[in-house]
């Protein structure tokens, strides 16, 4: 038997890692992956709470998160490709002109 709070703490750690990654990583793709990491952390808490409240809608939410994450990654990666074409760098510190 594992207390639910452990799951939540794990999810929190993943989320915090994601935020930290966003803050410290320079590669735009890695930053994007950090977002995915945060989403995964959130998903874990969704599933954990679903178990806590015996409500399957928590799991359904995970699907929506996944779909949105998929859409987001498709568009995001396309944007990254576009940025790379014009800037020829993936370093976010060098992409700070607020325009393509």
């Amino acid at each position: 038997m594992v207390p639910l709070s452990y799951y939540l703490v794990l999810s929190g750690i993943l989320f915090a890692c994601g935020v930290t990654g966003f803050l410290i990583k320079r590669n735009i793709i890695t930053i994007f992956m950090s977002i995915e990491l945060m989403l995964n952390g959130v998903n874990l808490s969704f599933v954990a709470f679903a178990a806590q409240w015996h409500a399957l809608s928590g799991q359904v939410f995970v699907f929506f998160v996944m779909v949105v994450a998929a859409a987001e990654s498709a568009v995001g990666l396309a944007i990254i490709i576009a940025i790379y074409r014009t800037r020829e760098t993936l370093n976010v510190d060098r992409v700070n002109l607020l325009k393509l």
């Binding site: 639910l4 993943l14 498709a74 396309a78 370093n91």
Partner: protein, 173 residues
């Protein structure tokens, strides 16, 4: 007990993968770390009983989204990360903010949590029930997300397609 062991093992793998994602300087290593995180998360889902979620997690996240990431990394031939010092704000405010926030949340969860313990497979999410929920209770969100995905596909095509006509003097080869 076994439950706790399995949970802790995969939880540790999870955290290790996440930390490795941060530590690694090459994006492809980060990506593979993330795949590891996702895979072990799938196991955690299985522990919670969400078998369908676990399977979809592997298929969609690890099998599709992360492949896309790897593909882009390979396509752009992304090298090791530059260690530029672009943002003092992120270091001065962001990192302490993250630390404070996560410590606070963890403290509250562990000290003031009113949540129960969960058994293995506490809430089985059989595909049939999930499907029923998706197509009945969540039909509208489902359709909306389908439209969202369609838009995302078109957006991705538009963004990534090479605007040849606009840049006739683009260096080729």
């Amino acid at each position: 007990m076994l439950h706790l062991i399995v949970f802790s093992a995969f939880g540790l793998i999870c955290v290790a993968g996440a930390v490795n994602l941060l530590v690694q300087r090459h994006p492809i290593n980060s990506a593979l770390s993330l795949v590891v995180v996702m895979g072990s998360l799938a196991v955690e889902y299985l522990l919670l009983g969400a078998e369908f979620v676990a399977a979809v997690q592997v298929i969609v996240y690890a099998g599709a989204i992360m492949v896309l990431f790897v593909f882009v990394i390979m396509l752009l031939n992304a090298g090791e990360e530059e260690r530029t010092k672009g943002s003092r704000v992120a270091m001065l405010f962001g990192i302490p903010g993250v630390l404070i926030g996560s410590v606070l949340v963890a403290w509250v969860l562990l000290e003031h949590s009113v949540t129960d313990s969960v058994a293995v497979g506490a809430l089985p999410g059989p595909p049939k029930v999930i499907g029923w929920l998706l197509f009945h209770d969540f039909l509208l969100p489902f359709e909306v997300t389908s439209v969202l995905v369609l838009i995302a596909i078109m957006g991705a095509v538009v963004l990534a397609s090479h605007p040849e006509s606009k840049q006739p003097d683009k260096r080729e080869g």
